[in-house]
C-alpha cells in the first residue's frame, strides 16, 4: 500500500487537474476508478476537497483588493473582515508589546544604581553642618569632633546604603521539594524556577548578580532578561550562565545535564589540574551531558529538547530508553521504587509518555506488552524477566 503522503499527493494532483478545467469524461472515469481503489484514496480526496471547498470563503477577503492583485500577508488581521473584537485585541496586544520594552527600560533605569549620586549628596549635606553650628570657641573642638563624627557616620551610612543598593542581597533563600512534588517559584528578579521532585536550590540575588546553586535534583529556569546581571547556576564544578532564556539543569551525582529550550546558555567548568576547561555555548535545542570525562553536546530541535523537561507537566518521556534508566527516572519521583531484578530486564527498551505519579500504570503496561513479570512488594516493585 502506498504511503499516506503519496496518496495525498495523488489526490491533490487529481483535484488540481480537475480544477484546471480541461477535464474529459475519460478523466472522470479514471479518477472514479482511482477513488474506488481504496478507502485511503477516498478519505484523502475527501479531506482535500473539503478544505478546498472551504477556501471558497476566502472570497470574502477580496473586497477592496484590486483585481489581479494579491494582498500582502496578514493584510486582513486589522481589517473589518477580521472579527472586530479580535482585531481590537490584537491591536491592544501589539500596543502592549510595543510598550513593553520601554517600560522595561524605564524600570531598569530607575533600578540601575547611580554610583556617585549618593555619596556626593551625603557630603554636600553633611559637611556644612560642622562649621555652621559651632557657635562658641570653647565648645568648638568637641563639638566639631562630634559633628565630624556625625558627618563621617552619615557618609558611611550613605555609602553603605549605596553599596547595599549596588551589591546588596535582594533575595537569599533556599527552596526544596519533597519526593514526588514539583514547585514553581517566582524569584525577586522576575525569573521563575521550577523544581523537580526531591530537589534543592539556593538562590542569592543581589543587585549586581543573580546566583543560584543547584544542590541536588533538577530545576528548570525561566530567566528574566537582564543583560547587566547574568543568571548563573552553579552545580558542583560547573556553572551555567544565561542572560534571558529557558533551560533546565539536573544533577546526578557528579554528572550534569543541561537542556536549553530557548536562547543560549554558556556552560563553564572549573579548571581541572590547573588547566582551564573550554567554555561551551549551548543554543536552544541543545542537550549537554557533562561528566567526569568532559561535555557531550547533542543539538537537536527545540521540540526534542522540550521532551526532556516534560516532567514539569507531570510526564516522563522515554524514547528507546533502557528500562533500567526509565526505572531510575520513576524513582526520582516515587518512594515506592522500581527495582531491576535482572540484567536482561534492565536492557529492554521502552518508549512513551507516562505520568510520573503513576508508576503502577507503567508497570502494568510493561507486564502486558513486554516479557516482564512484576513482583509487587509494599515498598518496591521488582521487575523480572519472564
Amino acid at each position: 500500500m502506498a504511503g499516506s503522503r503519496q496518496i495525498e499527493r495523488a489526490a491533490a494532483a487529481w483535484l488540481a487537474r480537475r480544477d484546471g478545467g480541461d477535464w474529459s469524461p475519460g478523466d472522470q472515469a479514471d479518477f472514479d476508478a482511482w477513488l474506488a481503489q481504496s478507502t485511503a484514496h477516498r478519505v484523502a480526496w475527501l479531506r482535500l476537497q473539503a478544505a478546498w471547498n472551504q477556501s471558497d470563503r476566502l472570497k470574502a477577503l477580496a473586497a477592496g483588493v484590486p483585481p489581479g492583485e494579491v494582498p500582502a500577508r496578514g493584510a486582513w488581521s486589522a481589517s473589518p473582515y477580521a472579527p472586530r473584537g479580535e482585531a481590537q485585541a490584537r491591536r491592544q496586544e501589539d500596543q502592549a508589546n510595543a510598550d513593553q520594552p520601554d517600560r522595561d527600560e524605564d524600570a531598569s533605569a530607575v533600578a540601575a544604581p547611580q554610583p556617585n549620586a549618593a555619596p556626593v549628596t551625603a557630603i554636600a549635606t553633611a559637611s556644612p553642618i560642622g562649621p555652621k553650628f559651632a557657635p562658641r570657641a570653647v565648645l568648638r573642638r568637641p563639638r566639631a569632633a562630634r559633628y565630624a563624627a556625625v558627618a563621617a557616620i552619615a557618609v558611611m551610612a550613605m555609602s553603605l546604603l549605596w553599596g547595599w543598593q549596588r551589591y546588596g542581597v535582594v533575595e537569599h533563600r533556599s527552596y526544596r521539594t519533597a519526593m514526588g512534588a514539583l514547585d514553581t517559584i517566582g524569584l525577586a528578579d522576575g525569573s521563575r524556577a521550577t523544581l523537580s521532585s526531591d530537589s534543592r536550590i539556593e538562590v542569592a540575588l543581589s543587585r549586581a548578580q543573580r546566583h543560584v546553586a543547584l544542590e541536588h535534583g533538577e530545576a528548570f529556569f525561566d530567566v528574566a532578561k537582564d543583560p547587566g546581571r547574568p543568571f548563573a547556576v552553579d552545580a558542583g564544578a560547573r556553572r551555567v550562565i544565561a542572560v534571558g532564556t529557558r533551560f533546565s539543569v539536573r544533577r546526578d551525582g557528579p554528572d550534569l545535564r543541561v537542556v536549553v529550550t530557548q536562547g543560549t546558555v554558556r556552560l563553564e567548568s572549573e579548571p581541572v589540574d590547573g588547566h582551564t576547561q573550554p567554555t561551551t555555548l549551548l543554543p536552544a535545542g541543545s542537550i549537554a551531558l557533562a561528566g567526569a570525562n568532559g561535555v557531550l553536546v547533542r543539538s537537536g530541535s527545540v521540540e526534542d529538547a522540550e521532551r526532556y523537561v516534560d516532567w514539569r507537566n507531570g510526564y516522563l518521556v522515554f524514547r528507546d530508553t533502557a528500562l533500567s534508566a526509565a526505572a531510575a527516572e520513576f524513582n526520582r519521583y516515587n518512594t515506592r521504587r522500581l527495582v531491576i531484578g535482572d540484567a536482561a530486564v534492565g536492557e529492554l527498551r521502552v518508549g512513551g509518555n507516562f505520568r510520573w505519579s503513576n508508576a503502577e500504570v507503567f508497570v502494568g503496561l510493561l507486564e502486558q506488552a513486554m516479557p516482564v513479570r512484576a513482583e509487587r512488594l509494599p515498598d518496591r516493585i521488582v521487575l523480572h524477566s519472564r
Binding site: 504511503g3 499516506s4 503522503r5 495525498e8 499527493r9 491533490a12 483535484l15 488540481a16 480544477d19 484546471g20 478545467g21 480541461d22 478507502t39 485511503a40 478519505v43 475527501l46 479531506r47 482535500l48 473539503a50 478544505a51 478546498w52 472551504q54 477556501s55 471558497d56 470563503r57 476566502l58 472570497k59 470574502a60 477577503l61 477580496a62 489581479g68 494579491v70 500577508r73 496578514g74 486582513w76 488581521s77 477580521a82 472579527p83 473584537g85 479580535e86 481590537q88 485585541a89 490584537r90 491592544q92 496586544e93 524514547r319 528507546d320 527498551r349 521502552v350 518508549g351 512513551g352 509518555n353 507516562f354 503513576n358 500504570v361 507503567f362 503496561l365 502486558q368 506488552a369 513486554m370
Partner: protein, 192 residues
Amino acid sequence: MDTALDAWFADEILVHEAALVHYLRRVWAHVDDVHDLRQEIYVRVYEAAGRARPHQPKSFLFATARHLMTDRLRRGRVVSIEPVGDFESLNVLVDEVTPERRLGARQNLRRLADAFDLLPGRCREVVWLRRVEELPQKEVAARMGITEKTVEKQVAKGMRLLAEHYYGATQSLADDAHDADRNREHGRKQTD
C-alpha cells in the same frame, strides 16, 4: 458515492484533526508515522461509519486511534510499549487540550486567512488568482509567466497545505486560535 457519509465525515471527523494529531504526537514515539496513522484512522472511521454512524464521533475517532496503535503494536512493529503510554491520563488530556472546531463564520474565515497566509509566496498567489478571482488556469499562467502545468502543481500544493493548516493546524496555529479566543473573552464581555 455516499455524499451524506462524505459530508458527515467532513463535519464530524475532520474538525477534530488538530486534536487527533496532537494526541498522536504525544503518544506515538515516531513522529514520522503520524501522517500514516492519521490516514489509517480516517479509513477505519470512514468504513465503520459507512456501516453505522457512531453516536459520538469524537470519542469514536479517538477510540479508533487507540485501537489502531494497539494493533500496530501487536503486529510487533516495535519491541516497546510506546503508543500504549498511560491511556487513562491521556484521555483526560485530550479533552483538556481540544478546543472544539465548530467555528463561527468569522472564526472560520480567520482560520482560512491564516492558513492561506502560511502558503509559500508563489503558491499563495496562484491560489488567490484561481480560487478567489477565479481566473482561468491559462490566464493565471500568462499573468505569472509560468506554465499551466506549474499552475496546476501549485494548486495541488496549495490544496495540501491549506488542508494541513486548516484542519490539522500546526499546534501553534491551534494555540494562537485558542489564545485569540481567550483574549477576546478577557477583552470584553462576550457579545455572541
